[in-house]
Subunit: 458 residues, 2 copies
Amino acid sequence: MDAALRYAQANRDRFLTELKEFLSLPSVSTQEEHRPDIERTAAWLRDKLLAAGFPKAEVMPTAGHPIVYGEWPAAEPDRPTILIYGHYDVQPPEPLEEWHTPPFEPTVIGDDLFARGAADDKGQLYIHIKALESLQATDTPLPVNVKCIFEGEEESGSESLTPFIHDHADLLAADVAVISDTHILGPDTPSIVYGLRGLTYLEVEVVGPDHDLHSGTYGGAVLNPINALCRMIARLQDEDGHIAIPGFYDSVRPLTEEEREELARVPFDREAWLHEAGVTTDWGEPEYTIVERTSARPTLDVNGIWGGYIRPGAKTVLPSKAHAKISMRLVPDQRPEEIARLTEEYLTAIAPPAVRVTVHALHGGDGIVLDRHSPALEAASRAYEMAFGKRPVFTREGGSIPVVATFKRVLGIDSVLMGFGLPDDRIHAPNEKFHLPNFYRGIETVLYFLDFYGGTHK
Amino acid sequence: MDAALRYAQANRDRFLTELKEFLSLPSVSTQEEHRPDIERTAAWLRDKLLAAGFPKAEVMPTAGHPIVYGEWPAAEPDRPTILIYGHYDVQPPEPLEEWHTPPFEPTVIGDDLFARGAADDKGQLYIHIKALESLQATDTPLPVNVKCIFEGEEESGSESLTPFIHDHADLLAADVAVISDTHILGPDTPSIVYGLRGLTYLEVEVVGPDHDLHSGTYGGAVLNPINALCRMIARLQDEDGHIAIPGFYDSVRPLTEEEREELARVPFDREAWLHEAGVTTDWGEPEYTIVERTSARPTLDVNGIWGGYIRPGAKTVLPSKAHAKISMRLVPDQRPEEIARLTEEYLTAIAPPAVRVTVHALHGGDGIVLDRHSPALEAASRAYEMAFGKRPVFTREGGSIPVVATFKRVLGIDSVLMGFGLPDDRIHAPNEKFHLPNFYRGIETVLYFLDFYGGTHK
């Protein structure tokens, strides 16, 4: 293992060059014009698996974007099997004008690599490939059986992934999944996420008149669908963020006193957090801490809204339609389908008779809380301690990784969330970056993890 | 005058062909890329004035889009002077996908001519030019002094017009202004608008975090500016449309019982109105009739709203900014600047501390009520009766024509609003059209008006 660690250190520059090549491919999954880029990225990734030493790696088609699958058996029989999951697609880069460097021209500034997808998830995914290459290049015996599944639709709802896992349950059989798509608390504060929020994502359309009208001629006697939509959105929450949808909190598993005490031990610097978020004050349910609100409490955000005339200048239109994209972060045991149904019922009930509302569920995922004392989480905890010199903190995270719930449901396995991002990586926003020391330490952490988990298990 | 009327009838096909040429010029004033089209349209219009017999016509530059000015003295001295106002710019055609025929390829279907600007205002403006040509071509003595002012910024706030009128008050001196930019009640129900609503148009920006955030990571502890904007918009009105801005109604001149009785005499078919508006039910202040709500009461509409991710698919962004364009229709004696100030104060007061709101006034105009018994309005009334065979109804209209207030303030003259549009012309919306029988009758009405007003005045 020492040889592999030394190899990883000696090859840092080349690893970075390869990662920049990976990041320069604009694999935006939600934008149809990037479909050829998605295909190119999948092929590139397969080639890198083969180059790293994977005896088997292929691009497997789905109804949507392809899945890159790889397999590599352990050196000795009877070793446990890990299933490494990642996603090679990225969020749209818009708004482009707010990037200081072009999103698909990866640029190193200081210790950071700036590019769309740098932290979410290409940089974190690539850590695993380079760790495995380091074993192969130094003839270190592979301590576990490795399977890889890298999807291209994580940012667009992973619609093809669940059917794929169902259809290939035998192929994907494993003892545990390993996912690097979360962040640690700081460059020197390693942490392991044991809880994730779920997600319900809805698109709402409000239709008033069947065509656009002149607001001077009809204003005052025809209900404006934008005004109506705003009133409806205002009624989804109170001013402190408590959600007003009847039944919304019924299935929320309350935080225990023990959990609240643990979450209170998460190092948290309010000033630093405000700075990272770019706000002057926090907001939200006053009876919960910021850490609890962003990780262990359900929330509601309008992710997009549009209607009427939105170009420069003034147009006095009373538009026919208004739209919003609304998502809710869920906690155990809220079910996305149930929350979508409750939300649709509520929006329909509060819509004024003069407009027509339709609600379309775009995608969702269950929230999850993992067992912190499983062999894989113990191995991961020791691995972080070796690489970072500190025992990791166990945290819950606000984002959603629906595949964690899918792996549990379909394959019957837990996931270890070995994140290497940082809270200020600006994922999903302009100027996304990845902290390069985390990239290199991540490769070391994964090498330790493979060693510990392969030795302790079975 | 009979010769001129016969000439106008005999030349209908050619007049229509010319109007189609006028409408095929995409003179969208709010979109910078159409600036060359604006220039071309102004030059085209000047040429048509000269061709119609105007001894003087020119394109006059302003800080914004040019003004086309023409002058034609009466055949005999001591005749009154009319100032014909119109605008050659048009609303943006968006949303393009909802047009059944291309907006800048004028298409006749049945009695209607479909094109952006057909009724608002190119078709109505062109009526005057063709009436004057009919006099010149038949050697009919011009019964009044005519001045024309056609602007290219009406749909973008007429920013250059007021300074132009100030700077050229002597050139524009007249006894009355004549404006054809309104509608009559029906093809066989002529009407004259004697009251117009004013306008305050604002753009509102709400800023939350200083960059876009991931809604999973920050949702629940950072106030989302879209949610905040929706709550603020919801608090601008109650559910019946009463405006909640403190002081908003303080300067409203109440409707007198006599006015309410007159407005109740306006022929109004609720079912036909619902059909024209494309709605299943009306909405608004229950203590006022639909006619009153759309013409004599102040209103508030969100004309556009945008923020966050608005392309197809799902993006879990907690955006930095949200925007809305909000306009209010005003009635005498509400002042646009005062209402803009009250609205800004209110929005600032109700904005949660976690966001920053800025309000930018785009443009405004005073509401107005004209003297129904002035010589010009009397002449117009007789002219409609001759051309349409029915005495016109006096009405108030919901839209704004800020130039009416400007003419009063700067030149000291009233305006006669000789509209030839129809309520279902879909101005400002896809599939705008102009009813061709109104185009031809409009030319006749203007010929009678010139005759009556020239004969009765001075």
